[in-house]
Amino acid sequence: MPGYLTLIFVCQLLGELAVGALALPIPGPVLGMVLLFVWLLRRGAVPEGLGDVAGGLQRAMSLLFVPAGAGVMLHFQLLGDALLPLGIGLVVSTLLTILVTGAMMHWLAKGDAQ
C-alpha cells in the first residue's frame, strides 16, 4: 500500500519537474496522470493495492476542493460589485458547455463501442 502511494507521488513529482523544466502549458499533476497511465499500459494491469489507494483518494476528491473554495472570502467586495455579469456569465457558460459537449459526443460516438 505505501509503495503505491509512493508511485503516485513520484509520478506527480516527475510531472511537476517536467512541466517546470519544459514550460509546458498543463499542470504537473495532469502530466503525472499521463505518466502513471503509461506505466499502467506497460504493466498491462492495475495492481490491486494501487486500485485501493486510487479509490480512496477519489472518494475523498470532493472534500479536497473545500480549502480553495473558501478563498471566496478574499473577493466578497469584487464579487458583490460584479455579481450580475459574473453570476449570469458563469451559469450560462457552464450549462451551455455541458450541453454542447454532451450533445456532440452523444451524436458522434453513436457508432462506437459503448
Partner: protein
C-alpha cells in the same frame, strides 16, 4: 474561562483546528446532502465552503491563517489527479474506440466555454479585468490562474470562479443531461469534465466509473486545449 481562552489561542494557531474544521464541515454538508435525497442544491462542496466561510467570518479568522491548516487537505488534490490514470486505464478500450468523437466534442466544448463566458459577461457590463478572469473558468485551477494572469486578469478571482463553475456543473450538469436525453456515460462524463474540471470529475466518479474516466480525461485535455487556444482567441477575436 481563562483556560478556555488559552486553549482557543493555542488551537486556532495550530493546523489541527482548521484541518478539522474543513473535515467536519464537509461531513456535515455530506450528511445534509444524503438526508436531502441527494438534492443538487445541497451540493456538499458548496455546503462545506459556506460552513467554513461562516465560521471564519464569525471568529474573525483571515483566509491565510485558515489555509495554513487546510493546506494538508488541499495538497492531496495533486495525488488525486494523478490517480485518475486508473479509471482512465480501465476504460481505455472505450476511449480508444471514440478517439475522434472525443477530440471533436472536446474542442467544441472548450470553445463554447471560453466564448460564451466572455460574450455573456461582456454583454452584462464586465470590464476587461473581469473578462480575463472568467475566460478560463472551465479549466482546472492552476492552469486557469496562469492563463488569467497572462491575459491581465486576477488569478485569485479566477480561482474562485473556477470553483463556482465546478460546483455549478456538479449541481446542474446531471439534471441538464437528463433533460437533453443524453444518457451514455461517456458523453455525460466528457461533458461534465470539460465544463467543470475536477469538481465535476469528483461528482462523476461517485456515479459511474466510465463517466469518471471520461470526465478525468476531459479535464486534462481541456486544460491543454484552453491553454493553447485562449491566448490566441483573446488577441484575435475579443
Amino acid at each position: 474561562m481563562n483556560n478556555l481562552q488559552e486553549t482557543w489561542v493555542y488551537l486556532s494557531a495550530s493546523p489541527l483546528f482548521h484541518l478539522t474544521l474543513t473535515l467536519v464541515a464537509f461531513q456535515a454538508a455530506s450528511w445534509l446532502f444524503e438526508r436531502g435525497g441527494r438534492n443538487p442544491l445541497l451540493n456538499p462542496v458548496l455546503g462545506a465552503v459556506l460552513i467554513v466561510v461562516a465560521v471564519l467570518v464569525a471568529t474573525g479568522t483571515d483566509y491565510g491563517t485558515y489555509f495554513e491548516g487546510a493546506q494538508f487537505v488541499h495538497f492531496l488534490l495533486g495525488p488525486a489527479t494523478v490517480s485518475l490514470a486508473i479509471p482512465l486505464y480501465r476504460q481505455w478500450h472505450r476511449v480508444r474506440a471514440s478517439a475522434l468523437a472525443i477530440t471533436v466534442s472536446l474542442l467544441c466544448g472548450s470553445l463554447t466555454a471560453i466564448v460564451s463566458a466572455v460574450l455573456v459577461t461582456r454583454a452584462l457590463g464586465g470590464g476587461s479585468e473581469i473578462l480575463a478572469s472568467i475566460a478560463p473558468k472551465s479549466v482546472t485551477a492552476p492552469v486557469a490562474m496562469a492563463i488569467a494572469e497572462e491575459l491581465g486578469g486576477l488569478p485569485s478571482l479566477t480561482a474562485v470562479l473556477v470553483i463556482v463553475t465546478g460546483i455549478l456543473g456538479a449541481m446542474f450538469g446531471p439534471l441538464l443531461l437528463d433533460l437533453a436525453r443524453i444518457r451514455g456515460w461517456p458523453a455525460r462524463g466528457l461533458a461534465i469534465g470539460t465544463a467543470s474540471h475536477g469538481i465535476g470529475t469528483a461528482r462523476a466518479l461517485q456515479v459511474n466509473e466510465t463517466a469518471g474516466a471520461f470526465a478525468g480525461l476531459a479535464m486534462g485535455l481541456n486544460a491543454l486545449a484552453t491553454a493553447l487556444l485562449l491566448p490566441i482567441l483573446w488577441h484575435l477575436v475579443f
